[in-house]
């Protein structure tokens, strides 16, 4: 590859060697396994998240292949109904709760601090805790599946089928508790992202200069914050109904409970969930298209507004999952209108992307190839989505393979394709080496062709009456051949993923050395080394526009003055990103792991008995008390409030750095 290296100057050169060494020392984690357990560096945590989420992706993919084998021919006996129901439930649950949402947050936890030019997320220990709870939830689900306790009532677990009367054993309890666990971690991640973006942006990165991807993650995080409590309510009510010694009646019609409420609450989360997965993907797409069109994105403001609009409207269309239920017609019409309306912001974004490509000179590297695949597939999925918004059409295709095809086009086409693009795009930043373009093309075409072979026929199957979640079908239905095609496609997809794994593993060791900015991209993360140092930036960058690296970055000021002997970050104002104060964040600690273990144990034992609640409450209190006590255990400064926020020497350079400020050089 002959990408010219654009060097923006090494900030390290501006620091004294002793300071740099101390900075390195301060931000390094302890050696060995202990260091691995206690680290709170956002890149360490995010890398773990990414690897774990991809492992779950592969595991759930294996389940998908098993399902496709089972459905390849009518009346197949490869797996029985009991196992099949566990498999499709665990497939859906894993993909939604253990892959899609976590991996989107994982990328954000890696990239957002880099993109906004700070050294770590706002609450690093909380971040580590989030990972450990997520891992606990994943282990709980998959451990249960191995122990024949895999949930078997669908990833939506509708009552009464999942209620105490019709779902014997502990399978559904495992599902509910696992959902709660992973939602905790999703919420933690969302809080991290929002606060990091609000309070820790590079000096000068006012709201209208935030990269589109970071905006997308802010919108996503807010959606998580308002959507996830709904599913936690559902996954709280459900085990309370089922749990011995509790036996509540939330979903028992004989005592005034309501099965329909469950659907409302679940989909109030479930529909925004789709956008929680999709919006980060649009962030990837915008970033990649900008870089490879070699021009600023067309319509920055409309795209941001579209993201925000999607975030709002996303909460207004949950009932379109329930058109077949006895919900009043008038209400349904409202949700039809809302469901169609959400096509507008999606359309705006697609038009802006095409306009950007149109007005630029696209360089067809792997990330852009994946984005083009995304446009081809996502638009199709979006258009079938418009069909599903129509009540009459939905009544026909609801709960058929048409819907299966639709949401795989939206979620794989709309989220996994950009995700693969993002992996090819940021892999050099994360590992310092490029991925192979040649293998990348193999990966792309295998996956693209396999995907369409698998999921396109499902549209037809659905229209021909094949309902979802059936473990087999009769030969007389005539669905055999299309299913056969779909199943063969799954093998191509699997091959594609294997090529990807091979590519990633080999490139990590032997790929071409990337340098700081192999793609000539415009955002801040490309100014630091690949992979970035533990502290991300020796001197914090500042920003004067949306595309700092395309706007004479070498002339922008740098920020110095953060302590090198403790982990400090710079806190800036919300709107204009003016420096406000320095802020010491948590150091490496074993406490997040302990807290994660207590939480994990809590949710495993909660499957069996409610008496764990008081016991673990005690456990949490103890860990929290220690956390509180030693976490801030350093002797602290004492100031009165009026001593803050007043410039100590008026006119001090930097503190008044506005958009057009031109502070005088110090050195």
């Amino acid at each position: 590859m002959t990408v010219p290296q654009t060097t923006f100057g090494s900030p390290e050169a501006l620091m004294r060697d002793a300071d740099l060494a101390q900075l390195h020392e301060t931000w390094s984690r302890p050696r060995g396994l202990w260091g691995w357990l206690v680290t709170t560096n956002h890149k360490d945590i995010a890398e773990r998240y990414i690897v774990t989420a991809f492992i779950f992706f592969i595991l759930a993919g294996i389940l998908a292949v098993i399902m496709r084998i089972q459905l390849a021919v009518p009346e197949n006996h490869f797996v029985g109904p009991d196992l099949y129901n566990q498999i499709f439930t665990v497939h859906g649950t894993t993909m939604m709760f253990l892959f899609a949402v976590p991996i989107m947050e994982a990328f954000a936890l890696y990239l957002v601090p880099l993109m906004v030019g700070t050294r770590n997320v706002a609450f690093p220990r909380l971040n580590a805790f989030g990972y450990f709870t997520y891992l606990a939830g994943g282990l709980q689900l998959w451990g249960a599946l191995l122990a024949n306790t895999g949930p078997d009532t669908g990833w939506f677990a509708y009552v009464p089928l999942s209620g105490p009367a019709f779902a014997p054993g502990k399978r559904v309890d495992v599902w509910a508790d696992m959902v709660t666990t992973t939602e905790i971690s999703a919420l933690v991640g969302a809080v991290e992202i929002i606060v990091t973006v609000f309070k820790q942006r590079a000096v000068g990165m006012s709201l209208n200069r935030i990269p589109v991807y970071v905006w997308a993650m802010v919108v996503t995080s807010f959606m998580i914050i308002f959507a996830m409590p709904a599913v936690m309510t559902a996954s709280g009510f459900l085990p309370m109904d089922r749990m011995p010694h509790v036996n509540t009646h939330f979903f028992n019609p004989a005592e005034g409970g309501d099965a329909l409420l469950y659907q409302h609450v679940f989909w109030f989360f479930g529909h925004p969930e789709v956008y929680i997965i999709f919006i980060p993907a649009t962030g990837f797409v915008s970033t990649i298209i900008t870089t490879f069109s070699r021009r600023p994105i067309f319509g920055y403001i409309p795209i941001i507004l579209s993201l925000i609009a999607t975030g709002f409207i996303g909460f207004g269309l949950w009932v379109h999952h329930m058109f077949a239920t006895p919900v009043p017609n008038l209400g349904q019409s409202f949700f039809t209108a809302a469901s169609m309306m959400i096509a507008i912001p999606a359309g705006v974004q697609i038009f802006c992307w095409i306009a950007t490509l149109w007005g630029g000179k696209p360089v067809l590297k792997m990330p852009l190839v994946w984005v083009l695949g995304f446009i081809a597939l996502f638009v199709l999925g979006g258009l079938t989505g418009i069909m599903l918004a129509s009540i009459p059409i939905d009544l026909q295709v609801h709960d058929t393979y048409f819907v299966v095809a639709h949401f795989h086009y939206v979620l794989i086409g709309g989220a996994v394709f950009p995700l693969f693009g993002a992996v090819y795009y940021w892999f050099p930043k994360m590992t310092g080496r490029m991925m192979s373009e040649k293998l990348g093309l193999w990966h792309f075409w295998l996956f693209f062709i396999g995907f369409n072979m698998t999921f396109f026929p499902m549209h037809l199957l659905g229209l021909h009456g094949m309902t979802r979640r059936i473990y087999t079908y009769l030969p007389e239905t005539g669905w055999g051949m299309l299913n056969h095609i779909a199943s063969s496609g799954a093998l191509f997809m699997g091959l594609g993923v294997l090529v990807f794994l091979y590519n990633a593993l080999v490139s990590m060791r032997r790929g071409e050395v990337a340098g700081e900015n192999p793609w000539g991209a415009a955002t801040l993360e490309w100014t630091t080394t690949s992979p970035p140092p533990k502290y991300n930036y020796a001197l914090l960058p500042t920003v004067r526009g949306r595309y700092p690296l395309w706007e004479n970055f070498a002339q922008t000021p740098l920020v110095s003055g953060l302590s090198t002997d403790k982990r400090e970050v710079l806190s800036t104002s919300i709107l204009d990103a003016q420096p406000e104060h320095r802020y010491e964040i948590g150091t490496d600690s074993i406490l997040p792991l302990l807290m994660g273990i207590v939480t994990g144990i809590f949710f495993v034992v909660l499957v069996f008995t409610p008496w764990i609640v008081p016991i673990c409450a005690g456990g949490w209190f103890v860990v929290m008390a220690i956390w509180f006590w030693i976490g801030t255990g350093q002797p602290q400064e004492k100031h009165k409030a009026h001593e803050y926020h007043e410039p100590r020497s008026p006119g001090e350079p930097g503190l008044s750095l506005g958009s057009d400020a031109n502070p005088s050089p110090q050195t």
Binding site: F123, V195, V203, T248, H249, G257, A554, S563, E580, Y583
Partner: protein, 215 residues
């Protein structure tokens, strides 16, 4: 690679003189706390909406209690303890405001007084709450009315306990080690949480204890 000469031309903004902590909305922890409260607020909203959703399944709310003699035809929850709770919680805002304000001036004595008094009131509220469940007349496993009201009160009790643990830890810290910048900020953040918990109780008082009398 660029030459050191080119490097020296870059402007350096020195922020080493900026304060190392902040006491208000400028502080990241304030925002973290606010977002957690957003999460919990949506949780309470959804449970409250469920309460009214269940209400539609009943001709009369709360449903008559028929498994006893004499039958209770309109078993609205008793007000006494809940109202005492309300008064105590509203009253607890005063010491919390005192502590909150005192943090700005680093007035350690006042902070001790405020946080300590609030803690005592909080513990009193928690104690009362355990008796208060009985004023609901139904048990959680009697019917959905019992389930949802116990859940609402239980969720609030959980927050009361977390709140008191938090305030208690702060209080002990100040007693042992004195007040410093970070803990003054933490107390201010705790105060926000405290006001929120009180506000939620006002909501629950209206929903659980007053609304059955009017709806």
């Amino acid at each position: 690679m660029t030459t050191p000469a080119a490097e020296t031309s870059r402007t350096i903004i020195d922020i080493s003189k900026l304060p190392s902590s902040s006491m208000d909305t400028r502080s990241p922890i304030w925002w973290g706390n606010a977002l957690l409260l957003c999460i919990e607020t949506s949780m309470f909203m959804i449970v409250t909406v469920s309460y009214f959703y269940f209400r539609r399944n009943f001709a009369q709310w709360p449903p008559p209690k028929i498994d006893q003699l004499p039958v209770l035809y309109h078993p609205v929850p008793k007000l006494v303890l809940a109202t005492i709770d309300l008064a105590l919680l509203l009253g607890s805002v005063i010491p919390m405001v005192i502590a909150d304000r005192a943090c700005l001036k680093m007035d350690e004595a006042k902070v001790r007084f405020g946080a300590g008094l609030a803690l005592l009131i909080g513990i009193a509220v928690i104690t009362i709450r355990f008796f208060e469940f009985n004023s609901l007349i139904f048990r959680w496993n009697d019917n959905v009315y019992g389930s949802i009201t116990w859940t609402l009160l239980g969720l609030h009790l959980m927050h009361m306990m977390i709140l008191c643990s938090e305030d208690g830890l702060m209080f002990v810290w100040i007693m042992v080690k004195g007040l410093d910048d970070k803990h003054a900020r933490d107390i201010r953040v705790t105060a926000v949480y405290w006001y929120w918990v009180v506000a939620i109780w006002v909501l629950l008082y209206v929903v659980v204890f007053l609304s059955p009398r009017f709806l």
